[in-house]
């Protein structure tokens, strides 16, 4: 009987632990889809789309780690997109060159640690055959390389300057047509020191709800504060916009919205599974209890025959259930700690946060399981006639 309470508790507690932590863990997994916020120079007038370009300042990037939700910023990468001429042997083409950080450790202001930034933190799906570019090399998009017949290790000219092709990039997107350089190199080539044209940010966010879709401009002061201090993708974008001079930060909606939906579904799923497993545990306890009481019908008959009333007999069996619940709860908790650790490591490669708070939860649910499961069988068992039972038991 202890076994079935323990197993029930183990399942229920594991699922509760899982459901408490699943949003955090899964939203981290969802970051595999890459950046969910883009920061661009603010568009203010006709000139902005008619050729004249505005830029963001490279030095603002680190400020992203100073905003209220800085700990939610998991990745950030700047991009400087410019037109250039590429030539290889006798072939020439107008292409887009992109300066970026592939992987860069940024020292955090006022702290000893560093923060890893770069393309790998916002676009983990980029597949580079070869090495990332350094001061004298570039990475070519796969379609471009095929079109011009360029292989890794060969030399190309960008605006007349020679670079070695250190790698070939494929993403399936527009990047396949572009040339990638280190940000500093691109800035120098184009004479745009300290300038970037776009910054992509990957941030952990709270799923958007109806409140989050309200236009901040129409919110009351109190609402605005609540909105600002919740990690919605919109409020994080707003805070980023504030630290990047002359910028407009906006959610990449197709990523941000899907993420919210998926998280919502998954957590409902786990809640429902938890509820179902608690119910099942109670039912299974009930059958176990019923089995054990059936075996002890003669005991009940005997107790009745020596004058115990139903109340006293119930108390005896319920206190047994109580002890069973306690022991089962403890054992179940211990098992669930192992199970949750195992699942955390297997699935998320990290240990799920342990919550000591769950010990009482486990105990209470075990007691509930034991009590609920016992009530019915005890009531049934009490209906027996002592004479019949005692005779059959012989």
């Amino acid at each position: 009987m202890v076994v079935s309470v323990a197993m029930g508790t183990a399942i229920a507690t594991s699922l509760i632990t899982l459901s408490l932590d699943i949003k955090g863990k899964v939203s981290r997994e969802l970051r595999a889809f890459g950046a969910n916020i883009t920061i661009e120079p603010k568009v203010e007038g006709f000139a902005d789309i008619a050729g004249q370009k505005r830029y963001l300042r490279e030095k603002d990037i680190i400020k992203a780690k100073t905003i209220f939700w800085r700990h939610n910023i998991l990745g950030i990468a700047p991009f400087l997109e410019e037109k250039a001429k590429i030539s290889f042997q006798d072939r020439k083409k107008d292409v887009t060159i992109v300066g970026t950080w592939f992987e860069k450790e940024l020292p955090l202001p006022g702290e000893k640690t560093t923060f890893r930034a770069g393309v790998s933190t916002v676009s983990p799906w980029w597949d580079i055959k070869g090495r990332t570019p350094d001061k004298s090399s570039v990475v070519l998009g796969v379609s471009l390389a095929e079109e011009l017949g360029i292989k890794q290790g060969e030399e190309v000219l960008l605006d007349g300057k020679p670079y070695v092709v250190s790698g070939i990039l494929s993403t399936g997107g527009k990047e396949d047509e572009q040339v990638f350089l280190d940000l500093d190199v691109a800035q120098e080539l184009k004479g745009l020191e300290g300038a970037v044209s776009r910054v992509l940010v990957s941030a952990l966010t709270t799923p958007m709800d109806d409140f989050a879709y309200k236009d901040p401009a129409t919110m009351s002061r109190k609402e605005y504060e609540k909105w600002y201090c919740t990690g919605y993708v919109t409020s994080i974008a707003k805070q980023l916009e504030e630290v990047f001079k002359g910028s407009r930060a906006k959610p990449i909606w197709h990523v941000a919205e899907t993420e919210g939906n998926v998280l919502e579904r998954l957590s409902i799923l786990v809640y429902l599974l938890t509820a179902a497993s608690l119910l099942a545990a109670a039912l299974s306890m009930s059958t176990t209890m019923a089995a054990s009481l059936l075996r002890r019908l003669d005991e009940i008959g005997l107790m009745k025959s020596i004058g115990a009333d139903s109340f006293k007999i119930s108390i005896i069996f319920l206190s047994e259930a109580f002890i069973i619940g306690c022991v089962g709860g403890l054992v179940g908790y211990a098992i669930s700690v192992g199970v949750v650790k195992f699942i955390g490591l297997k699935v998320f490669g990290a240990v799920l946060e342990e919550r000591v708070l769950l010990l009482p939860v486990a105990l209470v649910s075990a007691l509930l399981i034991a009590a609920l499961g016992s009530l019915l069988p005890i009531r049934r068992a009490l209906r027996v006639k002592p004479a019949v039972v005692l005779k059959e038991a012989r």
Binding site: V388, E392, R394
Partner: protein, 222 residues
């Protein structure tokens, strides 16, 4: 060699010694009673003769067969051919009716034959209780079902362990008269363990046990 032959049987349990070297022979068709105070080893001796338990030392021959040489399943087969049991507690299958309990023994023996089972119950005077379950029968009636079951496969030996232990004098007499009648008709061998002098005196021979040994062996003429 006699029909039942027990040779120097010793039975030791972890904490106690039940039999300290028992020798005994029983002729075919006899009714033997074993008496003695509780703990004298008489039930253990009966179980060993019936193959329900095996001796620590010594051997038992029944009709020339060494029980110690039989595997467990062979023992089960030997038992159903040759031995019927009646216990103090009736040990009926609670969810089967009287006639079905008798038929269960037929089932394990060979084939079931309901008419035969009904006939057996008629002979023990239970023709009117064929389709009652054990809980609906009195103690004496349950014991009579057990006798019918024990004898259904025409065993050569009937082993009875305090068959009347739970019964009043009237029922006890009924059971013993029934046994007497069946014994005189079918000539099977009876070994009956009891501590009740009223029961033991129905036998033709009386063995007295004490402390794991047979201390007295006397013929009885009633």
């Amino acid at each position: 060699m006699e029909f039942i032959s027990v040779k120097d049987v010793v039975k030791e349990y972890e904490t106690a010694v039940a039999l300290r070297g028992v020798d005994m022979d029983v002729e075919k068709g006899r009714w033997v009673s074993i008496v003695g105070p509780s703990g004298s080893g008489k039930s253990t001796l009966l179980n060993i003769i019936g193959g329900l338990d095996s001796p620590t030392k010594g051997s038992v021959f029944i009709d020339g067969v060494d029980l110690g040489s039989l595997s467990e399943d062979a023992m089960a087969r030997f038992r159903r051919e040759n031995i019927g049991f009646v216990f103090q507690q009736s040990h009926l299958v609670p969810y089967l009716t009287s006639v079905e309990n008798v038929m269960l023994a037929q089932y394990f023996h060979s084939i079931t034959d309901e008419a035969e089972a009904v006939e057996a119950l008629n002979r023990v005077g239970l023709g009117h209780r064929l389709h009652h379950r054990p809980s609906q029968l009195s103690g004496g009636e349950q014991q009579r079902v057990c006798i019918a079951r024990a004898l259904i496969n025409s065993p050569k030996i009937l082993l009875a362990d305090e068959p009347t232990g739970n019964l009043d004098r009237e029922n006890t007499r009924l059971i013993l008269e029934l046994l007497k009648k069946l014994h005189s008709e079918e000539h099977f061998t009876i070994i009956l363990v009891t501590h009740d002098p009223f029961v033991s005196k129905w036998a033709e021979r009386l063995l007295t046990m004490e402390d794991g040994r047979i201390i007295k062996d006397e013929p009885l003429y009633c």
